[in-house]
Symmetry: C2
DNA sequence: AGTACCTGCTAACGTTTCTTTGCATGTGCA
DNA sequence: TGCACATGCAAAGAAACGTTAGCAGGTACT
């Protein structure tokens, strides 16, 4: 297993939460393609596309495969990994348990107290 | 219908793609709760929690309900809206069609051409 | 040698998002 | 009147993200 925890879910959600990446994924769902061509199809720059593809790949939503065309050109093909993810409150509940989140919050409250010493209009 | 398009999906995904909001949602999945108390339970500041709750609500994942406790205090209760969202390449493909995305890209390429006039080491 | 494709990378900028801090408002109770 | 607890909002600094521009390398065909 790759990891399975809530962080995985988070990575997938973050990868999906972008118009560009949604479009990229949609385009690839219509068939595999290589970077330069895909960039032209979508009308975005190659550099930009690469970044997004990397994120999609990191999330495990697409796979890359370096191939060589008959005339020797190196082409990097991407294709979608068939996935099926169902989101429900319960799923979230389970996933949230194992989160290597930003803060490993300790059990103490803060919020600087509910406004003391300040009477309004006597 | 609220809107149904791909933008809706995007909003939901964006709302979910955050450790904090995932935790908030998880906490609410365990039962409804009001803001201040929830903040204490989660160990985060009230202001921060409010922001995240607003986003979750905007995405339609939770609902708020202002109530008054027996002793007259105004309590804003939040609870999860039972949802069931399934993500597959095909779903993405459909959703990507109707995207009021950041750019309404015109069909022209750019990428400043593939490096011309520049011979390295003669 | 020159052009046309392909790949990859990084520095830098602009923009958005996150988070804190602080103040304003209200009720109820000693 | 002072404290405890509830709500709300806005400014502002910090941190993360998205995007572009530019350079690097490669093969192949004229």
């Amino acid at each position: 297993m790759t990891e399975g925890g809530g962080d995985e879910l988070l990575r997938v959600l973050a990868a999906l939460a972008s118009p560009h990446r949604l479009r990229v994924l949609a385009a690839l769902a219509g068939g595999r393609n290589y970077v330069s061509r895909l960039a032209r199809d979508l009308g975005i720059s190659r550099a930009l596309l690469q970044v997004h593809l990397r994120k999609l790949e990191a999330a495990g939503l697409v796979t890359s495969d370096l191939e060589f065309s008959e005339d020797g050109k190196a082409l990097k093909f991407y294709e979608v990994v068939p996935f099926e993810l169902t989101l429900t409150p319960q799923v979230v509940r389970d996933a949230a348990g194992s989160l290597t989140g930003p803060d490993d919050h300790d059990p103490d409250i803060r919020d600087h107290g509910p406004d003391i010493g300040k009477d309004n209009l006597s």
